[in-house]
């Protein structure tokens, strides 16, 4: 058996955790827990970044880890919890697809992602190239969650989890994007959540609910 260095094992464990958390989010219907899972996923992402920073000695990765920690582990979950309390949405209604069906679809997605990532992983020289498939899977699983959920809040958590997957992809393929781009993306995510907060109150004011099936009046026939 070949020897795998300890920090490499840690990185692999982080990658596995990312995927596990994506599945946990897919099956979780309590919105408060969903936000907590999102925060944990952010923490795993920050840990991965930190490990990579330590390993490669790239200064901008330390900064990126702090940014992830501040934004995705602390600020966004805090904001989402506040929104949940103010709006009183605690449970998602029955999802469009049974949980078991969604999980099965999720497994297929993981297989597909590894197939898709194969040519990239083949070319990558980073120590995390095996994780590229996992990153693609995290993105697509978040996408699946957005499709199958009805509550606006769950869709937003799916959207943010997708962003996590994309950062993880950048990390495993190229040790992160240039600083200016990461800052810009982080700014966009932040503004997006603030805009959504405003938006939720508008939806609630109009419908007294955050259930998206109210938002289905606009059809082609108008």
């Amino acid at each position: 058996m070949t020897h795998v260095p300890f920090n490499q094992q840690l990185l692999n464990a982080c990658a596995a955790l990312m995927l596990l958390l994506s599945f946990a989010m897919l099956s979780q219907r309590r919105i408060v827990s969903l936000v907590n899972l999102f925060a944990v996923q952010g923490a795993v992402l920050a840990a991965t970044t930190l490990l990579l920073a330590w390993r490669t000695g790239a200064g901008h990765l330390y900064f990126s880890a702090v940014l992830t920690l501040a934004l995705k582990v602390a600020f966004l979950p805090w904001l989402l919890h506040r929104l949940i309390r103010r709006l009183g949405v605690y449970w998602d209604t029955e999802p469009l697809l049974e949980i078991s069906g969604t999980m099965l679809a999720g497994i297929l997605i993981v297989v597909f992602s590894f197939g898709l990532a194969e040519p990239i992983a083949h070319l990558a020289s980073t120590s995390m190239r095996n994780a590229i498939g996992i990153a693609v899977a995290v993105v697509l699983l978040a996408f699946l969650m957005m499709i199958t959920r009805r509550k606006a809040m769950s869709q937003v958590v799916g959207f943010l989890s997708m962003e996590n997957g994309l950062f993880f992809a950048a990390m495993s393929a190229t040790y992160g994007m240039p600083m200016i781009v990461e800052l810009g993306v982080a700014l966009d995510v932040l503004v997006a959540v603030l805009v959504l907060g405003v938006f939720f109150f508008q939806i609630r004011e109009q419908f007294d609910s955050l259930d998206l099936h109210h938002l289905e009046r606009l059809s082609e026939h108008q």
Binding site: I120, F159, A173, P178, V191, V195, F199, Q202, I203, L218
Partner: protein, 486 residues
Amino acid sequence: MIELSFLLGIPAAGAIALALWGARGDAPEMNAAFSLGTFAAACALTLRVIAHGPQLLWREQFFIDAFNVFLVALTAFVGLTTSLFSRPYMRVEVAHGRLNPGRLRLYHSMYQLFMLTMLTALTTNNMGLLWVAMEGATLSTVLLVTLYRTPQSLEAGWKYFILCGVGIAQALFGTILLYFAAEKVLGAQGVAALEWTRLDAVKSQLEPTVLALAFVFLLVGYGTKAGLAPLHSWLPDAHAEGPTPISAVLSGLLLNVALYAVVRCKVLVEGSVHSALPSRMLMGFGLLSVVLASLLLFRQRDIKRLFAYSSIEHMGLATFAFGLSGPVATFAALLHMTVHSLTKSSIFFTVGHAAQKAGSQLVDDIRGLITLSPTVGWGLMMGTLAILGLPPFGVFASEFLILTTAMRQQPWSIPILLLALGIAFAAIFRRVQPMVFGDTQARRLPHAPALLPVFAHLAIVLLLGLYIPPYLADWYRAAAHLIGGR
């Protein structure tokens, strides 16, 4: 250099100033003044690029060549005319009680911010910043689509946010893949490995498999924003439910900017993969959009929704022309982007006035514009004839060029295109004709419409149909050469 600082600085200052100034009496005039300043800066920048050739500015983070400078000028011009149109239009909306001063403040501030994000997306040399600016363009317009807070507008805003958010996430993945491929060739240089000019210089060495995969994601991502089928469903909703000036800039400008991003990516990928894959994908998506939009046009009863579907059709046509490649097709595509943008925004101006007079956007409720307000009626009729591709308007010239090139290169596509254009003609004309010439019992309404923007746009479109000035033709040709190569 100074021109670029003004071009980006004026809308940035405008967004802040208008947010602070609020909805006091002269806020609409201030909005127009800031837009005028932006347009002046765009003109100065254009003159500079014409005189001195492509410019690489601010540590190579901004790059202006023949391709994007014409879009910068167009964006600033339509931004100016739309701000002139929105001046009386939004006042009437406030008078009708559909808006309150707080929302008008939001509207003006976000209008300037939207211009800033679009101009940044056009001028940046960094593919990552391009992504950030495109996402910024979505975020700054989401709250404008929901400005009226009706259930329909909230649904439209939600759809717009989620679909474009997911779409743009795909584009981010594409950008990551692009960076990944570039790092292999350029080494770990940080920001430099995402600069378009550097990527362009080494594009033949970039890994073809990675770039082909990246292009799929980039095309789906930016294509969603350009309204390409099958990811177009946000577009009609967002156009129909937002205030009309926003429909005009979304349709006339944002779609162009998104298509610009796709074309920039295509140039890189084509240089790397050495196959027809990117061109075929553009042609496929373009043709699908043209066909699907023309079929859906028949079912539309809402006038803004009708013209939103027409935008999908025309963006599809331009995408198809970019897919044909070669200088002539690319020339035609650039011309088509220009004339579509001018014509479609002028149509939205007249439709906005007409819907405001009738108090409804439904085609059946708007009748006899020619008697109610002859200028609005004639403006709408002329705009409709122009967008349907009738000579002597510019859309005819660009569509003619696209069709003749397609006939030579991809003859199989001709019957499909002609049929789709014919269906679109019938679908739009049968709705607009009674709106303009039908009988009406309604009274003439007192407020005067803003017609200068409408007729200015139509005059330019007419001019471009009759005669393209030589320097403009050279300019298009230079841009077409940059993109089309060969």
